[in-house]
Symmetry: C2
């Protein structure tokens, strides 16, 4: 079985078969977690990192008065807290937003692999740099674009990332998020995101049935979002229907 991790890493970096085989040897402690499980907390000093195999995670910071900011979403194949390898103290939390399967990998095993395989070292570093690139994009969105553009942009991003990871076909996907969670990611209120989504639906840009999304008009959505996937730094070509 070709692992999700390899799918995700080969999407952004070159890995020869030897490196891929080496990745398969990583010892995994597989755990199923329910919605709402906080895998890592702000302030923790993890000794393992966390490969998502199935499900949907987010990283988040809690602020006072119940406010929180979701910092990123994570899809199968990603290692959201790879940074803990070099940053001892977590500056944010990691939580499951859908029922998920997670594989814990001891830092020592990852470090050993990095030490002996430069290709893997580069790929993992690159993965954390792409993380950072996505933070920059979100920062620019939250700082400088309005609610509709920001929302559309997030939908474009998630849809494309899912597609590139081979998790979906075409324009349909599940976004296992409440509107409140969307709001926390986009820096807005639940009420307002509700209205924005209604707007996007009214314009035919998206269709939703519960948490199942269909993109109704990719080109319009992309244009509204001013979405340019360059910041995702994929090494594989983007499929025609998502150009």
């Amino acid at each position: 079985m070709s692992s999700k991790l390899i799918d995700a890493l080969t999407l952004i970096a070159d890995l020869d078969t030897q490196s891929q085989a080496a990745l398969e040897t990583l010892p995994l402690r597989v755990v199923r977690v329910p919605v709402g499980a906080e895998l890592v907390r702000e302030g923790d000093h993890p000794s393992e990192c966390c490969l998502l195999q199935q499900g949907f995670l987010c990283r988040h910071k809690e602020l006072d008065e119940g406010k929180r900011q979701i910092l990123s979403f994570h899809l199968p194949g990603e290692i959201p807290d790879l940074q803990s390898l070099h940053l001892q103290t977590m500056d944010h939390g990691l939580t499951a937003l859908a029922p998920s399967t997670v594989a814990y990998i001891p830092h020592g095993s990852v470090q050993a692999l990095i030490d002996e395989n430069k290709q893997i070292a580069a790929a993992l570093w690159r993965a954390t740099l792409i993380d950072a690139s996505i933070f920059r994009q979100w920062l620019a969105s939250v700082g400088r674009s309005d609610a509709a553009e920001r929302t559309a942009h997030l939908i474009c991003e998630v849809a494309l990332r899912m597609r590139m990871l081979g998790l979906t076909e075409g324009y349909e996907f599940d976004l296992p998020l409440t509107q409140t969670e969307l709001a926390d990611a986009l820096g807005m209120s639940p009420v307002h995101i509700n209205r924005v989504l209604q707007d996007l639906r009214a314009k035919g840009l998206i269709v939703t049935r519960g948490r199942h999304f269909t993109i109704g008009d990719w080109h319009q959505l992309k244009r509204l979002a001013k979405f340019d996937p360059a910041y995702l730094h994929f090494r594989k070509p983007i499929p025609g229907d998502f150009r």
Copy 2:
């Protein structure tokens, strides 16, 4: 002469004398640049990275209609575009906000050092991870706190970073930024940042003479900002006057 780079890296990572010596061997192409010089542009494919020796840089994304978001500020000793080592295409620009001295280092030389010295490899990776941590903090600030808190937070961050790098003593420092640039960093309008600054001055939290800042009341400022320096991941203790 102990280099700024070593000051900055030993602030966040352990480097033995051998590693420090190795860093000193990096070939530097030193250039002086005026205010406004764009060292790297969005879309570029740099073959060198850029060590700031003197001055003040920022990274930024341009949006349409003249809008822009400043993504980070950079102080002497930092390598703002270290990421270009692994991300071929720049997803943002790098510009001097003060007259600066910059040392270009070929990617090849950095990579060679990384390949042969694990301590340096770890330190540089860690530096990019701290970058990312700061993006997360900015994202949370822009997304979830109000103008005054955000502004105070930025002032705390820059003041502390300067102090930790040994660029300043006490509570005084120069911030070579126009209010428009501050606004672009904080995701607000120039008019509004002006009013927020007036407020902070009126409360005695800061004193400004032109672009020279003095922190009038660190504890109050820190409290208003809800500033917790953990996200900067320093390995050295924070001086008493900045606790």
